[in-house]
Symmetry: C2
């Protein structure tokens, strides 16, 4: 999935815009402006633009990342999407509704030579391959649970590595990540037989000192999604994993019968799982989302966790991820610039 | 996926018919006859019938299980499929080509009120649910590798349990199994996020003494497919697992970089994985495909394996699976009839 950038962020009258916010936070250079309906409470602090202004400013895709209230695509949104096609833009959609399944829209896009990028609905075939060991270095963020900062951590690592002059690329596996990277594969929407193959395709052989920073999904401890996680672990063939967790959780998501695993159990489970395709796979650091803790409590928890696991422990938002990249520089040393 | 039975087995001029053979072997009562083109080398030892005769004999679906030479659907096959629809039959297809994607065929089926059952292409949505512990008993066949007898073993267990008067149902997770059971879910073709949910849907809560015998897929040691296997393990919530293996294999399928695991490693890995959704999950027996060994070597291997693992060890084809059902009767005892 490769989406032309830069974007005009379409907010319409959506109640939330987590995806647009993620793109705005991580790739402001890819956002020429925002398009809101009158009365919208959302603000990405970008220039207000109509479609013509956005095209003039270089926008190549209308990014429809936010879900409308109610979930269905309202006629008012359809009109803007159609007009964007007329003006020569592609549509980058994270909606559950598949734009390619709307015959009138598909016909219009085909006729104009434009594309509807339904990033939640991958359509490619992924070659199974032989899962031989690939050159280059790979880091996968893994989780105790869903929604604990795996994308944020991978992006923070990319930024930190690039600032140090390392060759590093974020590899997106979910819709927000795909919009940020301009490409990627929504692995949880891939046919199950092809998840490992998709992850391998996403992080191909590369220069010996190049790092892929692969966005993790789900958790090996999640009763519904652990299979997706395992496929991603095997296909990514990670040299290094960073374990992400939210210390305030007690259950796996809303699954009352499933308690949060200990971090120790996570390290053991991920290293055991990853060994199948990379015998050297190690958890090299911990990333905690401490946003619900005070500054003092957070610092204390990070220190205690680092001590208990003998691993660098960070909160990307509070401390940055430098300590983890320092550790990688020590372990994978000479290869870096 | 629910397919009307009985079937007319369509062999056409296919070179092989593993699926049809499986249905013929396990459910001869569901096969009213076979339809072959002149010169076909295949023979299911069923009455030769044309479509009209099959309908008169009660056939409700034309089963197109075999792949044509070359993979694409030849015009001669299309003609028979269309005529079967005209005569009031559904089509049960295991082809990679999705019959529902052929507009003329789909239109004809819709117009006649018939269904095209593309069993390789599940279309249902599966509710994620809460993965609470379900009543009833579940046995999942698991494998050291793909294609080592997981379906055959599950069907053998169903037959043995039913002969003893137990309440037992085979639950199909692959195309041949679905034709045999008349229903099921092709889990390796489900969107990855829904594999566990599909497995849970397939083996719902039941009477306390009822056994679901769930057909396993893949292997936790397979670099491409372990995620599917893990999702199936978690969703099935098995009380018992039977480990299936082919003792003559040295690698995982054709994956030269991946050696066959030991049976001990398999037991450990499957019990560890299954514990997430069923803490009592145990491997209760081993099923070896010894078809490439002499009678004497097979008997020796089964005895040595049983001794080493302290588990009943069978070859369903040579010895039947009685020893495993005996063990289940001991362990889950009083509940059985």
């Amino acid at each position: 999935m490769q989406v032309p950038t830069p974007y005009l962020l379409f907010l319409g009258d959506a109640p939330h815009a987590k995806t647009a916010q993620g793109v705005r936070d991580w790739r402001p250079d890819l956002c020429v402006g925002q398009l809101r309906f009158p009365g919208s409470a959302l603000d990405m602090r970008l220039p207000e633009m109509d479609l013509e202004e956005a095209v003039a400013a270089g926008a190549r895709s209308l990014l429809v990342g936010a879900a409308p209230a109610g979930g269905l695509l309202p006629p008012a949104w359809m009109e803007w999407i159609e007009r964007a096609l007329d003006l020569g833009m592609d549509i980058a959609s994270g909606l559950h509704t598949k734009l390619n399944d709307i015959p009138s829209l598909k016909a219009k896009a085909d006729q104009l030579g434009r594309k509807l990028h339904d990033v939640r609905h991958p359509t490619e075939d992924f070659p199974i391959g032989d899962f031989a060991f690939r050159s280059g270095k790979r880091l996968l963020t893994v989780g105790a649970d869903c929604a604990v900062g795996k994308m944020y951590t991978a992006l923070s690592l990319e930024r930190e590595m690039r600032e140090r002059g390392w060759a590093a690329d974020f590899r997106a596996t979910g819709q927000t990540g795909i919009f940020i990277a301009g490409q990627g594969i929504s692995v949880d929407a891939v046919i199950s037989d092809f998840v490992s193959a998709a992850a391998a395709t996403l992080s191909p052989a590369n220069d010996a000192d190049h790092w892929d920073l692969i966005e993790g999904q789900g958790s090996l401890f999640h009763p519904a999604y652990a299979g997706v996680t395992l496929g991603l672990v095997h296909g990514s063939q990670p040299d290094a994993m960073v374990l992400c967790a939210d210390p305030t959780r007690t259950t796996i998501g809303e699954f009352e019968y499933y308690p949060q695993p200990t971090l120790e159990a996570c390290v053991q489970a991920y290293e055991a799982a990853a060994a199948l395709t990379n015998k050297g796979a190690k958890v090299v650091g911990v990333s905690l989302n401490t946003s619900k803790l005070s500054e003092e409590d957070a610092a204390d928890l990070l220190a205690r966790t680092a001590e208990a696991l003998q691993l660098p422990c960070v909160d990307p938002f509070r401390t940055g991820v430098g300590a983890i990249v320092d550790a990688l520089a020590m372990q994978h040393g000479g290869a870096q610039g």
